[in-house]
């Protein structure tokens, strides 16, 4: 069996990060739980944001988790894909906006 850096089973052991630093781990998970509760944004909307960010930060654990979370909430395939595109658009925009810097530099160096 081939080894990879990411093992899907590790997601189930996420809570174990508290073993080496119980106070920080505890606070992180409390914060994490609180963030995703119903608030000014619905839990459904937050799930879609989390799915988009999961793709942008390229976290395979998060993608698995929030795809499933979205399905549980009845979020449609179209909604999920649009959320990922929103993340991708920001990510590609963040790359492309640097082209202005390139153009500025080019202009400065051009004779």
């Amino acid at each position: 069996m081939s080894e990879t850096y990411y093992d899907p089973k590790d997601l189930k052991n996420f809570k174990n990060i508290s073993d080496w630093s119980e106070p920080l781990g505890k606070r992180f998970f409390e914060y994490y739980t609180k963030v995703f509760e119903e608030g000014a944004l619905s839990a459904r909307e937050k799930s879609l944001i989390a799915l988009a960010v999961s793709h942008v930060v390229k976290c395979p654990y998060c993608i698995d988790a929030y795809t499933k979370d979205g399905m549980q909430r009845g979020i449609t395939e179209e909604e999920m894909m649009e959320a990922v595109h929103a993340g991708a658009a920001i990510e590609s925009g963040a790359t492309l906006v640097h082209a202005v810097q390139m153009m500025n530099k080019h202009k400065k160096l051009s004779h």
């Binding site: 459904r44 399905m71 549980q72 909430r73 009845g74 449609t76």
Partner: protein, 350 residues
């Protein structure tokens, strides 16, 4: 062409014993996951019947649909159907046992030729709530069944209908091509009659996940369903019941073939919620098979797990006292009813 039932295709899991054997193996055999009975022992809980409130009657396994998740393995190729003599026994039992609710299920219960006689007879016994679990499409299937919504209204039947999603794609994937559009037509007609609008005409929908995952919060899903069905189709309903898919029959086969079985069972066990135990439907329901045999629930019926004690048939129950304080038959599929907010024929428990 409609898919065949497991029964008709002579699938391994058409034999309930094979399903139970499978559910005893794997992580439950190695001790990685506790069998359901052991989980109850850990919580020092004994699951026993309380008072009989619901008589759930399966009128037959015949159905006009062959849904991918059906725990009954129902379909057009199933011929098992409740006969007149057994229907008579149900009417006698209603009079004798006085449950609050008669819950008619199938298959498509409307396909039993004596459906109307049973309902009319049941009304005379004074049972408070008569539920029909309608798949909706049967109400659009021919001129005869198109008259049934009027009959429902006349008899003040409480309609509980399956609709796994408010989109065509997801619903048709689970329940068959064309099901969503026909379901919407039937829902609109029920609305026109006052169902889901008038106080006396209850129309509830049943959501079950379209895949290997557990349902989310019932109230949040209900709000989404109400908004989308009203905005998209002008359809109204009362409540949404979320039901977890239990790992039996076609859904068990799907879990195994899609390599989701182990993760799904682990998810069910991890989501075990002792707060659901007091409200489990097996504690106040008696499930009656098409042949008059009795079970703790519809799932135990499909797994051919008879109740404990001396009684086997509905006609054996002479008084409601016979129902009380009986030990309930358990197996690993019971984790489906105790996961998260719990699951029953009336949706979430806690």
């Amino acid at each position: 062409m409609k898919p065949l039932s497991l029964h008709r295709s002579k699938h391994l899991f058409s034999d309930p014993k094979k399903q139970l054997e499978f559910l005893s193996k794997g992580a439950f055999e190695t001790g990685e996951l506790p069998p359901f009975e052991k989980m109850l022992d850990r919580h020092k809980y004994q699951l026993r019947t309380s008072e009989l409130e619901i008589l759930q009657v399966n009128l037959g396994y015949m159905c006009n649909q062959t849904c991918a998740h059906c725990h009954v393995d129902a379909g057009p190729d199933r011929k098992e159907i409740m006969q007149s003599e057994t229907i008579d026994q149900v009417l006698i039992a209603l009079d004798r046992l006085k449950p609050k609710t008669l819950d008619l299920t199938g298959g498509a219960p409307e396909m039993n030729p004596e459906f109307k006689r049973l309902v009319q007879g049941a009304r005379k016994t004074g049972v408070q709530d008569i539920i029909v679990r309608s798949n909706l499409t049967i109400l659009e299937s021919n001129t005869n069944f198109k008259t049934y919504p009027d009959f429902f209204k006349e008899q003040q039947i409480h309609v509980v209908s399956s609709l796994p999603h408010y989109t065509l794609k997801t619903t048709d994937r689970q329940r068959g091509e064309g099901v969503f559009s026909k379901s919407i037509l039937a829902l609109k007609r029920l609305n026109e009659l006052g169902y889901g609008i008038d106080k006396e005409l209850k129309l509830d929908l049943v959501y079950n996940p379209s895949g290997a995952f557990l349902p989310a919060d019932q109230k949040a899903l209900e709000a989404d369903f109400k908004k989308k069905l009203l905005e998209g189709f002008g359809v109204q309903f009362n409540e949404l019941f979320c039901i977890t898919n239990l790992p039996i029959s076609r859904f068990l086969d799907y879990l195994i073939s899609s390599e989701n079985y182990e993760d799904y069972m682990q998810a069910l066990v991890e989501a075990f919620n002792p707060a659901t135990l007091d409200g489990l439907m097996c504690r106040n329901t008696l499930s009656v098979g098409y042949d008059g045999r009795v079970y703790d629930c519809d799932f135990n019926q499909m797994l051919a797990m008879p109740i404990t004690g001396p009684y086997r048939k509905l006609s054996d129950f002479l008084t409601a006292e016979n129902y009380k304080n009986r030990s309930i038959r358990l197996h690993q599929h019971c984790y489906g009813c105790t996961a998260g907010a719990g699951s029953s024929c009336g949706g979430s428990i806690s």
